[in-house]
């Protein structure tokens, strides 16, 4: 007998807001979180915009200088072990757990696991290595590794919550948190765990965002209101963001038995790899198309019931075009087609975080009965011909939502959620 997986908690520390209500409002009204970002003012920086997380400030390498919302508190030894992304993740995950109504005992339980995705902290890695080179390893913080490396979310969150079940982190660039979600789904579906906490997080620092300027994939735009415009003919690169989003997944019958509020059903997922380039998506979107096909098949949903696709499109010329081809291949260009939008128009691109962030947006769309529109789209790319790209959010309740993610290394992850009946 197969076990169903449902979403019972969401938590947000994003540029669109610090709770589901704020994020929902932004998605409905297409209010973006992009600003002119002061640390980029220097003339040598070719990028001027970014999407910071309101209420947080983490640009110092000294965690004791950070500011964050009052409802977060840490002992000094905990604070000094955090990376910015682990700080956001603590906020988002605690919010998601609160929303789920799960008690401490259910969280600190052998049947509850934690899967995470973050790229570690480039800022703190640089800070600690630089100090080590200057003053020698004996004079460096013993918590440098805990704070800096890509395991930082697990190192920090596991003891804070007393996690006893599975715990692991996933690395597949901008598909990372999609892998975390997908494998968390499997843990529950295969009966290994009853509850999975999943969190994706990314520092919001120049050290994380600006290396993409070297690849010339960040938009040089100075206008926050139009800078990020996926699928638009004039798109010229992405806007960087960070933060964290967390999701609580539970086995369906157990969640219903305890009377939990169910946001959506997680129907399944699929993945593929392009196998072509280190950083550029397959030009025909072949890999992403295969991942969508696999996800829809695994989810056991009818293709025509997919009413919305939250696209990966980051607003880069090549990536968006490749995704257009993948979408046309899977859904065709005539008859009943799903609405498509990339919410990165509002948030910018959150790298390791983006997959779970957009999955969570998809869950909000299912739970609240609307479809986020394709913000900032004025002149669609000819490659998008035949795709249904609503310019405003639609007051239509989607039945099934597909959320796409692609990362460097050609990794594609697609998650499928359905309205809980």
């Amino acid at each position: 007998m197969s076990r169903s997986v449902v979403v019972t908690g969401l938590g947000f520390a994003t540029c669109l807001g610090l709770d589901a209500g704020a994020v929902l409002g932004a998605l409905r009204s297409l209010r973006h979180g992009i600003v002119r970002y002061e640390p980029f003012d220097d003339a040598s920086v070719p990028v001027k915009l970014a999407a910071p997380v309101p209420g947080f400030r983490t640009d110092s390498a000294d965690a004791e200088d950070w500011t964050f919302p009052d409802n977060l508190s840490f002992r000094l030894d905990q604070l000094r072990a955090l990376s910015p992304n682990a700080l956001y993740a603590t906020y988002a995950l605690r919010q998601a757990i609160d929303a789920s109504g799960l008690g401490e005992d259910a969280v600190a339980h052998p049947r509850t696991g934690l899967f995470t995705a973050s790229a570690g902290s480039a800022m703190l890695t640089h800070h600690h290595i630089d100090r080590m080179k200057r003053v020698g390893p004996s004079r460096c913080s013993p918590l440098g590794i805990v704070a800096s490396t890509a395991g930082t979310l697990n190192f920090n969150l596991v003891p804070a919550l007393g996690i006893q079940g599975a715990s692991a982190g996933f690395i597949s660039a901008c598909a990372s948190s999609g892998h975390a979600l997908g494998y968390a789904f499997d843990e529950i579906a295969l009966g290994r765990q009853d509850r999975m906490l999943v969190v994706g997080a990314e520092d919001f620092t120049p050290e994380t965002i600006l290396p993409f300027a070297s690849m010339r994939v960040l938009t040089p735009s100075r206008d926050p209101d139009t800078a990020s415009r996926p699928f638009d003919r004039g798109r010229d690169g992405f806007v960087g963001t960070g933060g964290s989003v967390a999701m609580v997944l539970e086995e369906g019958s157990a969640a219903r038995a305890r009377g939990a509020e169910i946001y959506a059903e997680f129907k399944g997922w699929g993945q593929s790899t392009d196998g072509t380039h280190m950083a550029i998506a397959h030009p025909e979107g072949a890999g992403l198309a295969r991942a969508m096909e696999a996800a829809i098949a695994a989810a056991g949903v009818a293709r025509e019931n997919v009413d919305y696709v939250n696209a990966h499109a980051t607003s880069t010329p090549m990536g968006d075009a490749s995704e257009c081809r993948a979408l046309r291949r899977v859904f065709g260009t005539g008859g009943k087609r799903p609405a498509v939008s990339s919410t990165k128009a509002l948030t910018g691109h959150a790298l390791s975080l983006s997959s779970i962030m957009e999955a969570a947006f998809s869950v909000l769309a299912l739970h609240h009965g609307f479809i986020p529109g394709a913000a900032h789209l004025v002149d669609p790319d000819p490659e998008a011909a035949g795709l249904f790209l609503p310019r405003e959010s639609l007051d239509e309740a989607p039945r099934v939502v597909v959320s796409n993610s692609s990362g460097f290394g050609g990794a594609n992850v697609v998650t499928v959620f359905a309205r809980h009946e």
């Binding site: 004791e64 002992r75 000094l76 030894d77 000094r80 460096c140 913080s141």
Partner: protein, 284 residues
Amino acid sequence: MSNTVVKHSELRESLKRCPESAIEAAVAFQETKDPALVPPIVLGILERFVEPDVRPVIREGNDATRLMDDLGIDSLLMVEIVILVEETLHISIENEELRNIRTLGDLKLYLDAKTRGLPPPASKNVLNFEQIAATLPQQPPFLFLQEARINGEYAEGSYHISGDEAFLEGHFKGNPVFPASLMLEALGQLAVLFLLKSESGPVDSPEVDPASVFFVGGDGIRCHRVCRPHDTLQLKVRLKKVHEPLAQFEGSIFCNGTRVARAEEISLTFATRLAGEAVGIGVR
């Protein structure tokens, strides 16, 4: 001159979030190297790293305050403290030496010696299992102390219940519980160790003959909780009164932070080597 200013501002930067008094002392120490400035500097650095609620404990300046149990300083936090102390006092602290520093008093003595360029004080009062076994007449399998330390008027020790103790097979059948009588025995052994090893005050120069120490009586003994395999007994005895041939202690046992047993009075009889034969009374 400007060099001095730079050095001072770097020092102030490293010590930011320490109490101002500690920063002033550190700046003065940089010039004078006066060992008298070390305690205020070190206490200030400790204060910066501990939780706000235990800061008053540091300000009391009690030498017996334990870094781990009383101040909540774990091994990683200790490393942070060491780094800042090293940087401020221009010394380097070896991991080996750190192991023997458990109280504020240990830390002050150690750093005082270090800044004077003297060898660190030997920690004769910390005993590992081999040293305990070499001191006490009690021997395995009837030795219930694995680690101990003697500190002024009290001694602390610990015993981890492995679960392999033969008596647990019968105490009780299918339900292993560390016997209350052996809790009292463990406290008694710690008191014997105190008599044999204490250097300060009560039982000075004449050496206590190990073969002369026996249990006389106990009073006000209460057990609050049972202990089982994998529990660690944290034992403590304090000397109440000593007058050869009698010594009286009070003792308590904690496990995972809660008290599991206490004895208001444990009396031992002993004889010093100079006094000749043991003057045993009562139970032998």
